[in-house]
């Protein structure tokens, strides 16, 4: 998953170009500019743009769920926002029946990541890079953030940073 904000126009054209109509979900203020230029790029095609809060939550989940239930094959979904939110939204979209080819994730640069604790199975959002550590707020384990991402959990794998050093 790239964290660049540089437009990936080829991929956008490929995914959006194939679709009959498009919905853009943008998350947070930092995503607005990118979302605006995306929306205006679709020419004659029907585009809806829904603005949502920066963080993934119940509201966003319900809105995405409702959009997906009403959607017909031919739909494309574009997700613009911080990486952690975009990953979560994509996971929800796939659970709602969309294929990767129908979703375009466009993360705007952000340092926060969702970390999955391998020991208590909870996730938390942390301002942390791969290879650094974060403490699990649920079980207090010190976790190292590993370069292994689950699209289903929408998170990076975190496991005990000091397991081998413990007495």
């Amino acid at each position: 998953m790239g964290t660049t904000s540089v437009p990936r126009w080829d991929e956008e054209r490929r995914i959006a170009g194939g679709g009959r109509y498009v919905t853009v979900l943008s998350f947070g203020d930092a995503a607005l500019d990118r979302a605006r230029s995306l929306v205006s790029s679709f020419g004659g095609r029907r585009v809806d743009w829904i603005r949502l809060p920066e963080e993934w939550g119940d509201t966003a989940a319900q809105i995405l769920e409702r959009q997906a239930s009403a959607a017909r094959v031919g739909w494309r979904l574009m997700l613009v926002g911080p990486e952690a939110t975009v990953l979560a939204a994509r996971s929800a979209a796939v659970a709602a029946g969309l294929l990767d080819d129908e979703i375009l994730p466009l993360p705007v640069d952000s340092g926060t990541r969702t970390v999955y604790c391998a020991h208590c199975h909870s996730t938390h959002v942390a301002d942390v890079a791969v290879g650094q550590s974060s403490t699990c707020p649920t079980c207090a384990s010190g976790l190292v953030v590993h370069h292994h991402v689950s699209r289903l959990h929408a998170a990076y794998l975190g496991f005990a940073v000091d397991a081998e050093e413990r007495p």
Binding site: L99, A118, R151, A163, E165, R166
Partner: protein, 341 residues
């Protein structure tokens, strides 16, 4: 050919005990690298100590202990069993296929009989019988994959084929070596192998995936994988890393003579089967552990193990989690294991 299961671990004065004779020593060369090392399943492999590999499901003297251990692990953490909703048919397919494999390999112990619409599975080793109707959940006490997990030593992963790729969408894995089924469930074959060094640039993973996707119903292949474990610890999952991680360090810091008894070569014999009805790929992982002490009883093995561990590049050793244990292993082999370096 049928084999009666002898559940007692035999120690034969005339030769090596079963646990050594039947051990699937994985190294065919003095060095080791990743490759798409798949071969057709079912043909016996002769080793310096004996042989293995006649059947895709393998029962040995640890049968009862391993099953008890699996139940203990699942009792403490049911998330070692995962299945995405669309994999119901693949679970049934895997269960019946495994029942048939057990009955074919060990007909004195297992049977799968037909009774009209129903089937009857018999496990004489456990003294259990289960009648069921294929596809009807109300006729089984557990989800199908969970059920059959009570009868075999293998871990099982089921892969769905779609969108030009394979997806690890269900599994029962209690004896993981350094990974988490719960975290990996739902990943594609390539994503699952994401953290493995070298295999992507060298094309090993895409070729393996292409090969698997071309398998037709009934085809069965196998390969081996290996690492090192401290003690006979089957559950080496990411989940329990805080419990076993320290053993790597403690072994290295402890007396050298303990290494022979405590350090084990851990070998996974993996079987890959295309299932008929669901079209899923079933991945069986059978874990075997043999101590360095036992390995040293077979000079060809100890010499080769030494050479492989000595030459293994650091990135691979790191990925396999053996950076701390290989040094002590090599020293033990030289000092007590009869290996001249």
């Amino acid at each position: 050919m049928s084999t009666t299961i002898d559940l007692a671990v035999r120690d034969d004065d005339l030769g090596l005990p079963d646990r050594i004779a039947r051990f699937p020593f994985p190294f065919t060369r003095d060095t080791y690298r990743y490759s798409t090392n798949v071969e057709p399943a079912g043909s016996p492999v002769a080793t310096a100590a004996g042989g293995w590999g006649r059947h895709p499901v393998d029962i040995d003297g640890h049968y009862l202990d391993d099953l008890t251990e699996r139940e203990r692990i699942l009792g403490a953490d049911p998330t070692r069993f995962q299945s995405l909703p669309h994999m119901e048919i693949a679970q049934w397919d895997a269960m019946v296929t495994l029942m048939r494999m057990l009955a074919d390999a060990y007909p004195e112990t297992f049977a799968l009989e037909r009774d009209g619409e129903a089937r009857l599975f018999v496990n004489r080793a456990l003294g259990l019988e289960q009648s069921f109707v294929f596809g009807d959940r109300s006729t089984l006490p557990d989800p199908p994959l969970r059920f059959i997990g009570r009868h075999l030593q293998e871990d099982v992963v089921l892969l769905d084929q779609r969108e030009g790729a394979l997806w690890g969408d269900a599994g029962l894995v209690t004896f993981a070596a350094d990974w988490s089924l719960r975290f990996d469930v739902g990943m594609s074959f390539r994503q699952i192998h994401g953290p493995v060094p070298r295999v992507h640039t060298e094309g090993v993973i895409p070729r393996a995936e292409q090969f698997l996707m071309g398998l037709q119903a009934g085809q069965c292949y196998r390969r081996t994988n290996w690492s090192l474990s401290v003690d006979r610890r089957l559950d080496q999952s990411t989940e329990t890393y805080p419990e076993w991680g320290r053993d790597r360090r403690l072994l290295a810091e402890g007396p050298l003579e303990d290494v022979g008894r405590r350090l084990h070569l851990r070998v996974e014999v993996q079987h890959l089967v295309r299932l008929g009805v669901s079209g899923a790929i079933m991945f069986l992982i059978r874990t075997h552990l043999l101590s360095f002490e036992d390995i040293a009883r077979v000079p060809e093995w100890s010499g080769r193990l030494y050479s492989v561990l000595d030459e293994l590049p650091d990135d691979m050793a790191d990925y396999k989690g053996i950076m701390r244990t290989r040094g002590p292993g090599l020293r033990w082999l030289r000092t007590y294991g009869g290996v001249r370096s």
